[in-house]
């Protein structure tokens, strides 16, 4: 075990997978210098053939990933900020997500697209989106959102070894929290949620960087109101571990989903729909979503803070589902 930040765990995962498999290649904008730290030292370690800076041409590089993967490579395409996927979206939505299907399964497309998502950095609306709902809806793309350094390492290694296009979305600028990370071979399978905190009164499902405020909310509710709140981290949104979420709600009867995507068609609304559909009998209150309002992320930090889900809003939502039917 070593204490690491998410970005260091990601760097380790990349180094280990590139050392393990010579077919792993990585390209993207400024990956050689490693702007965020996640790709640092790769160029020196693995050389200019396997680690390449690309021009700022997202339209090309998302599709290059598909072509190189079809031709036998295990490709990591670094897109820097998640907002930039819109520029390269054709090859993600029309090619990566569909080529295996459209060719009747003739292809494997082992691609890991890495991008930094989310707000909280005061870099305004064009660098702060959380676009996983849109990726979830494509069908043919895995969507992975780690919340801890250990999961970042395990999920990234599993993503790289997965034979399907996978989006690995890391919370930008908020990966600063340290955590214990197992050294060497450590894999976290896609599609396995983790119960981060046990509880019996209500369930919080929190995605990615929302885990931290969700856990704080659960702790404060325990302290202040004696509530026992279970917190579940889905870890991957596609595939989604519905069983773990439904089992938790079967126990608690109440659900709050925390998601920093905009509310409309968010991951939170999908999870709420799944639980209403498959877990209706165990629900004792309506499912609440704590999300970003349907607005663009404001620049002013004072406003961004208000738009973003935080511990207080999460705790208030849990309190609300607890009070349902009692007043």
């Amino acid at each position: 075990m070593a204490r690491q930040r998410i970005i260091q765990a990601v760097n380790d995962a990349l180094i280990e997978e590139m050392a393990r498999d010579p077919k792993v290649i990585l390209f993207g904008e400024d990956v050689e210098i490693g702007l965020f730290g996640d790709t640092r030292s790769l160029h020196a370690k693995f050389g200019p053939a396997r680690v390449r800076n690309t021009p700022i041409s997202e339209n090309l590089l998302t599709g290059m990933a598909v072509g190189a993967a079809a031709a036998g490579y295990r490709v990591i395409a670094h897109l820097m900020f998640a907002n930039f996927i819109y520029t390269g979206f054709d090859s993600i939505a029309n090619q990566a997500a569909k080529l295996r299907f459209m060719t009747g399964g003739q292809l494997r497309l082992p691609i890991t697209y890495i991008a930094v998502y989310g707000g909280g950095k005061s870099i305004a609306a064009q660098h702060s989106d959380t676009p996983y709902p849109l990726l979830m809806n494509l069908g043919g793309i895995n969507v992975v959102v780690p919340s801890s350094p250990a999961d970042a390492k395990g999920l990234l290694k599993a993503s790289i070894r997965n034979d399907n296009p996978t989006f690995f979305l890391q919370a930008g600028g908020r990966g600063g929290e340290q955590g214990e990370v197992p050294e060497g071979e450590y894999l976290t399978p896609l599609g396995q949620a983790e119960v981060k905190r046990g509880g019996t009164d209500a369930t919080i499902v929190a995605i990615g960087a929302m885990l931290r405020p969700a856990l704080r909310a659960a702790e404060s509710l325990q302290k202040e109101s004696g509530l026992s709140v279970e917190v579940v981290d889905p870890r991957s949104l596609v595939p989604l571990d519905e069983a773990t979420i439904l089992a938790s709600v079967a126990k608690t009867g109440r659900l709050v989903v925390v998601d920093e995507a905009r509310d409309r068609c968010s991951a939170a609304s999908h999870i709420a729909a799944v639980v209403c559909d498959k877990g209706f009998a165990s629900l004792r209150a309506p499912v609440k979503r704590v999300t970003v309002a349907d607005v663009a992320m404001p620049y002013a930090p004072s406003l961004e803070k208000l738009v973003f889900p935080d511990t207080q809003r999460i705790a208030a939502a849990v309190t609300e589902v607890m009070q349902y039917g009692r007043s």
Binding site: R52, L60, G63, M64, A68, A69, A70, G140
Partner: protein
């Protein structure tokens, strides 16, 4: 823009010349039948026919191996067959059958045979350009001398990704050949109304050779391709070939129905291009040079006729796909 003198004719032996003609005829006859079947209502979807442009696909693909990649367009039957795709499996795919090359999942606009390096036809104009840049990167890393060839239309010259690929291809000296089939029309709009300048010239600022050729002359196609493949395999980077041709059929076979009498090109223009049909030109030339006589030509036609008939019978008699396939093909491997 530069034109090349045609010396290719002398470099291709007689057997190969006849094989080129036969492959062009196969594409033509399969597609004529597809046109008829579309009219008869036998096909589930529309088809974009390649009739009139066969010299390009055949002249390029005859110089490629299965280990070389191609990406094609919505008008992709010709490229599929030229690179050795099975006509039975292609027609069955267009019929939406389980025996289709893509198991009925892709249809006319997505015929692909990965085992033959055919990454597929593509419904998105210009999309193959980035895919082949990636395949060229893979080929370069493999170091086995493979190349990636992208066919695209003049319409795709309006997509920014062409510039992005020329840039990266030039910087990294990728074994990439970009073949623009300029058939004069972006769907229903004349090329000169939507495309400024000469498409081949778009290569120039990147230091990439750009050539304009007569795409209806298989020898020009052959020669330009040979030069481009040589550069690619020697590590000298990409080439852009603009092959001027003409789409003898509509953008899509259904167009008369929705154009409702509207026209976008003249009958005279179509008649003019009929005089430059690439198959007639090659057949006439080979007859004049006594490479082939009319009896031998008739035997080829007969053989192709039987092959085409067999392919359509196979398709018609094949079973429909089943619903389990729909989830089977989305992801590789077991899902949790």
């Amino acid at each position: 823009m530069s034109r090349m003198p045609v010396e290719a004719r002398a470099q291709i032996d007689d057997a190969r010349l006849i094989a080129l003609l036969e492959r062009m005829l196969l594409i033509r006859r399969v597609e004529e039948r597809l046109g008829e079947e579309f009219k008869a209502g036998s096909l589930p979807g529309g088809v974009h026919l390649y009739i009139g442009e066969e010299a390009i696909a055949v002249g390029v693909c005859a110089q490629l191996a299965d280990t070389d990649w191609i990406a094609s367009t919505h008008r992709g039957h010709g490229h599929f067959l030229a690179k050795g795709g099975d006509p039975k499996a292609m027609v069955a795919e267009i019929y939406g059958r389980k025996t289709g090359i893509c198991r009925g999942m892709g249809g006319s606009m997505h015929v692909a045979d990965v085992s033959k390096g055919i990454l597929g036809a593509n419904g998105i104009v210009g999309a193959g350009i980035s895919l082949m840049t990636g395949a060229a990167l893979a080929a370069q890393l493999d170091g086995q001398g493979a190349v990636a060839v992208c066919f695209f239309g003049d319409g795709a010259a309006g997509q920014g990704v062409l510039m992005e690929a020329l840039n990266v291809g030039a910087l990294w000296k990728l074994p990439l050949v970009l073949v623009c089939e300029n058939n004069g029309y972006s769907e229903y709009t004349r090329g000169d109304a939507v495309t400024a300048g000469v498409i081949a010239d778009r290569a120039k600022p990147y230091g990439v050779p750009g050539v304009v050729i007569d795409g209806n002359d298989i020898f020009e196609v052959w020669q330009a391709t040979a030069a481009a493949l040589g550069r690619a395999r020697r590590g000298q980077g990409p080439t852009l070939i603009e092959a001027r041709t003409y789409r003898m059929r509509g953008h899509i076979e259904a167009e008369a129905a929705f154009l409702q009498g509207g026209t976008y090109r003249s009958q005279e223009e179509i008649e003019h291009w009929k005089q430059h049909d690439p198959i007639d030109r090659l057949a006439r030339g080979l007859q004049a040079d006594r490479v082939i006589d009319s009896d031998a030509l008739a035997r080829i036609e007969q053989r192709i006729g039987a092959q085409v008939q067999g392919a359509f019978e196979f398709a018609e008699q094949s079973e429909l796909p089943d619903i389990a396939q729909v989830s089977e093909y989305m992801f590789s491997g077991q899902r949790p």
